[in-house]
């Protein structure tokens, strides 16, 4: 036990720098996660806020929640690989279907459901009185969406982005299986070599990054939510409808 802890400490001393060091690996991990969440926001938010504004597509929102929960993240990451390999073979400016691309595609798909459903329900659940009042003040369609519905929905939307991000950072670990870097590298390589110290160090790094992501978003949410909507208390902190274990 004591020997294991000494080895573990030594591991953290020996493996911080270079292209396979944990600083680079952490950066790779965040790089693919960030792009995946941003892309998912770009796709899901306009569609969901329009549907919520028009008060349409309730069934779509519910099915997104249920399907999202049933998707095995491991399967989605694996499934992306043969897809991106075929894309890379046929599109001249993509040079590799390995590594970043399949990881990005899988994480993008997994990031969509929480952002979509939270944006949709957030906009949809804005009280009709607030919308009515805005209309009385002379706001029209997009004005109501931008100036009334989206700000009022922002705590719920941000909760969706937080859930997606935490889930994406967790699942990016599996990117190591499709030849990407990231912190999952240590766990997967450790499994292959039956190297308990590397496995455990990788697990610590992944868990720490996951917790830090959650904390960073909680702090960011406090600043991004419009002032009058803050301080609703932790009891009422909105949770994502499509939260899943990863």
């Amino acid at each position: 036990m004591a020997e294991f802890l000494t080895d573990l400490l030594a591991w953290f001393g020996d493996n911080w720098s270079g292209s396979t060091g944990y600083i680079t690996r952490t950066w790779e991990h965040l790089w693919v996660s960030g792009w995946a969440v941003l892309a998912a926001m770009g796709v899901a938010m306009p569609l969901a806020s329009w549907l919520g504004h028009a008060r349409r597509g309730g069934i779509l929102a519910i099915s997104v929640v249920n399907v999202g929960r049933a998707l095995p993240s491991f399967g989605i990451v694996a499934l992306s690989l043969p897809v991106t390999i075929r894309i890379a073979r046929n599109v001249p400016f993509i040079d590799s279907g390995l590594g970043f691309l399949p990881t990005f595609v899988a994480l993008f798909a997994l990031a969509l459901p929480p952002i979509f459903t939270n944006t949709y329900t957030g906009v949809r659940n804005v009280s009709p009185e607030a919308v009515e009042a805005a209309r009385g003040m002379g706001f029209r369609g997009t004005g109501i969406l931008w100036k009334v519905e989206l700000p009022l929905a922002s705590p719920v939307i941000l909760a969706g982005i937080r859930t997606s991000s935490v889930q994406v950072v967790a699942t990016a670990t599996l990117g190591a299986l499709v030849a990407y870097g990231g912190l999952g590298r240590y766990i997967i390589d450790g499994f292959a070599l039956r190297d308990n110290v590397t496995i455990f160090a990788g697990a610590l790094l992944v868990a720490a990054l996951s917790v830090l992501t959650e904390v960073a978003f909680s702090i960011a949410e406090r600043w991004l939510v419009p002032r009058p909507l803050r301080n609703v208390g932790t009891q009422q902190r909105p949770e994502a409808a499509a939260s899943v274990a990863r």
Partner: protein
């Protein structure tokens, strides 16, 4: 540029490997069943504790919430140095993820039983145990089953990850497909493993819903 239209699915593979597919479906269901059974037993005990001693509810949800937030691969990786590449490692991980959902729903379900109904039961001479088993538990059943459904669907998805520690049910096909991803057989295996996992999740979800309907016949009368 010529488009390489390479087949993604080798339909013949499915027919040739039906026996193995059945074996892995069965393994998948056994891994899920054990995780849900053990998870439910632990959750009932912890929920009972939380209901009896209110102040224990916060630390219980905090602890199970922390377990829930650890990425699955990291949780299995934490356990491998201790329990090795075993079914025990897989089950400890899988059970951990069911606890938060189940405990929350059991407590919420029992809390949601209307006080006047409990009072009526006490007035009719029900003791504490009888009140729990004959009034509170049946009335909380829809909420508890709702938690079971979420836990079951989540667990079925997570079982595939245990392929990386040598178990995995349908995850076995996903991992083996990944090792020969460049071939049509590889993509077929990945697709079949993923699709069947989703199908299992949907079947179990609907099954639990039907079970709930069967166990709460009084709820149907309200709708009619």
């Amino acid at each position: 540029m010529t488009l390489v239209a390479e087949a993604f699915v080798d339909w013949g593979w499915i027919g040739d490997n039906l026996d193995e597919i059945w074996d892995k479906v069965a393994e998948h269901l056994v891994l899920t069943g054990i995780a849900l059974g053990v998870g439910l037993a632990i959750s009932l005990a912890l929920a009972a504790l939380a209901l009896r001693f209110r102040r224990s509810y916060t630390p219980i949800t905090w602890m199970t919430g922390t377990l829930y937030s650890i990425p699955s691969l990291a949780l299995f990786a934490f356990l491998v140095p201790i329990t090795g590449f075993t079914t025990l490692t897989a089950e400890i991980g899988l059970v951990s993820y069911t606890l938060l959902i189940l405990i929350r729903n059991i407590v919420a379900g029992i809390d949601g039983v209307p006080p006047d109904i409990k009072e009526a039961a006490v007035g009719m001479g029900y003791g504490r145990l009888r009140l729990f088993f004959e009034i509170e538990l049946p009335l909380a059943l829809p909420v508890i089953v709702a938690g079971m459904r979420i836990a079951a669907v989540t667990t079925i998805g997570l079982v595939t990850v245990t392929a990386l520690i040598g178990k995995g049910g349908l995850g076995f096909f996903i991992l083996r497909g990944l090792q020969r991803f460049f071939s049509t057989v590889g993509s077929t295996e990945i697709l079949i493993g993923t699709l069947l996992s989703v199908v299992l999740a949907v079947i179990v979800d609907v099954g639990l819903l039907l079970l709930e309907r069967a166990l709460t016949p009084w709820a149907r009368r309200k709708v009619a």
